[in-house]
Amino acid sequence: MDVMTSVQVENLTYAYEKGSYALKDINLKICKGEMIAFTGKNGSGKTTLAKHLNGLLKPTSGRVFINGLDTTGKTVSFLAQQVGYVFQNPDHQIFNDTVYEEVAFGPKNQGLTGKDLEQRVLNALQVVGLETYGSTYPYKLSKGQRQRVALASVLAMDSDILVLDEPTTGLDYKESQQVMELVAGLHQKGRTIIFITHDMNLVARYAERMIVMANGEVIADGRPRDIFAQPKTIKSGSLKVPVVTLLAERGGFTSRTVLDEEEFIHDIYQYKRRMSLNVLCS
């Protein structure tokens, strides 16, 4: 295995109960510094797969490697050094009286103390823009802010792989944008980001790569631009591509699969220019 591989999943099969498979023969390789989205409808296996990445679940058969380490026999708290996992609902983890203490919980478990600990916590709070809220009672914060506290509490552990399970659920538009911009910033700094989402607009905007899951299997793996152009995959993954993508496809003015408003407008201008040139030449 080369050093550029963050996550390597080999023939992973997982059954919650005997005979009913939640994951079937998954093979997946995620490189260092990738930003990848796990998509698919509820119950397709996205979260089950993600939980294998930090050892919360162990393969029924097959193997999972994190930075070259086999997760079999490793504890979650050990793997937490490599993989940060942000849960969907921040209220499942917040238990401290202050935001600072909450964020410090993870690094303290890693054995950090004194100046190092303080540095980590302040850094993480700064990244999520909550540096002035250190002494605030977490439940005084809005849902979006609590989501950012949860994110900071994982960031403070300084793991280079980050898994986010539906990080924007229950957030308003502005809050989800803040969270996603933040995550994109972390990606730019070289972290490997894996996020689970139902929102194809987020996928179009932030993911370099996406996998589509259905019935415990990966049915597609590639760039969002390529996958959005496959109606069959979209249908069997129960996904809904962004409206602009559909509109551009129906409009027939561009040959590429459009991902966002900017591309849409760009292509429509190009089309208009071509048309007016045609008129001039004829």
Partner: protein, 262 residues
């Protein structure tokens, strides 16, 4: 054990019996097993109870519970034979000495107690796993006049156990993902170590309770209109027959115990 007393949906005669019949039946079996004191008869009753479980098509689940019961039965048996001091000594637990004598009567008594325990618990397990909790409570409300508010509280509490267990699991996972460890913590510190699990659970539960109260109010819970019942639990022929069967059982066991000299 918790999985052993869950309702197991099947379509059998035992499932279709009126819950009240099954409650009475379990109590009747309890009475019978206390009245009887002969190993042979108790064994026969246990076989009948087990046959009832097989008939209700829950033998696989029953077998699982039965294995656990068997362990308890053996423990109970051992305790009885050690402490039973009357009768003729069969052997000593510590060979070569006359410490801890075990008597023939003690052996028999231990076996009787163990069998009774198995009959009583098995019959209740069959009752609980063939009766939906809701049906059971509804019958208690409708026929035995248990106040509905209390019955509702009971059903809701039962209904929330699996929900809370799921929450605990999620919270545990979320904290583990942040390097939280419960293993290797000294017992004294254990209480504090549970805080990261307990606190989110309490807060989430309070929020859930509040939501439930709101949802109930929006559906006019406690509006004061006399409630009606979706299922009408009548006493069918099968119930009468079963009740008769249990009555005969009790009479017969009294006869066997007191009239037939043993």
């Amino acid at each position: 054990m918790s999985s052993a007393v869950e309702y197991i949906p099947r379509d059998t005669l035992v499932h279709r019996l009126n819950p009240l019949t099954k409650i009475i039946g379990s109590l009747a079996l309890l009475t019978i097993s206390i009245i009887l004191d002969s190993l042979l008869y108790l064994g026969g009753v246990l076989v009948l109870v087990l046959a009832c479980g097989v008939f209700a098509k829950i033998s696989a689940q029953l077998l699982k519970a039965f294995k656990v019961l068997l362990i308890f039965a053996v423990i109970l048996f051992l305790i009885q034979i050690v402490f039973y001091r009357w009768g003729q000594t069969a052997f000593y637990l510590i060979p070569g000495t006359n410490l801890l004598p075990v008597t023939y009567e003690g052996l028999a008594f231990g076996a009787v107690i163990a069998l009774r325990m198995m009959i009583i618990l098995t019959s209740f397990i069959i009752f609980l796993s063939t009766t939906h909790t809701r049906d059971m409570v509804m019958v208690l409300v409708e026929k035995v006049r248990v106040p509905y508010d209390y019955a509702f509280m009971f059903v809701t509490a039962l209904r929330f156990i699996p929900t809370f267990l799921a929450e605990v699991k999620t919270i545990q996972e979320a904290q583990k993902a942040r390097g939280y460890k419960l293993e290797g913590v000294s017992p004294l510190r254990k209480l504090k170590a549970y805080l990261p699990i307990a606190l989110p659970l309490v807060l989430i539960s309070l929020a859930k309770g509040e939501n439930l109260a709101l949802a109930m109010e929006t559906r006019a819970y406690g509006a004061g209109v006399p409630r009606t019942y979706l299922k009408d639990w009548t006493i069918a022929a099968r119930d009468v027959l079963s009740l008769l069967f249990f009555l005969v059982g009790i009479v017969l066991s009294i006869y066997l115990r007191f009239a037939v000299a043993t």
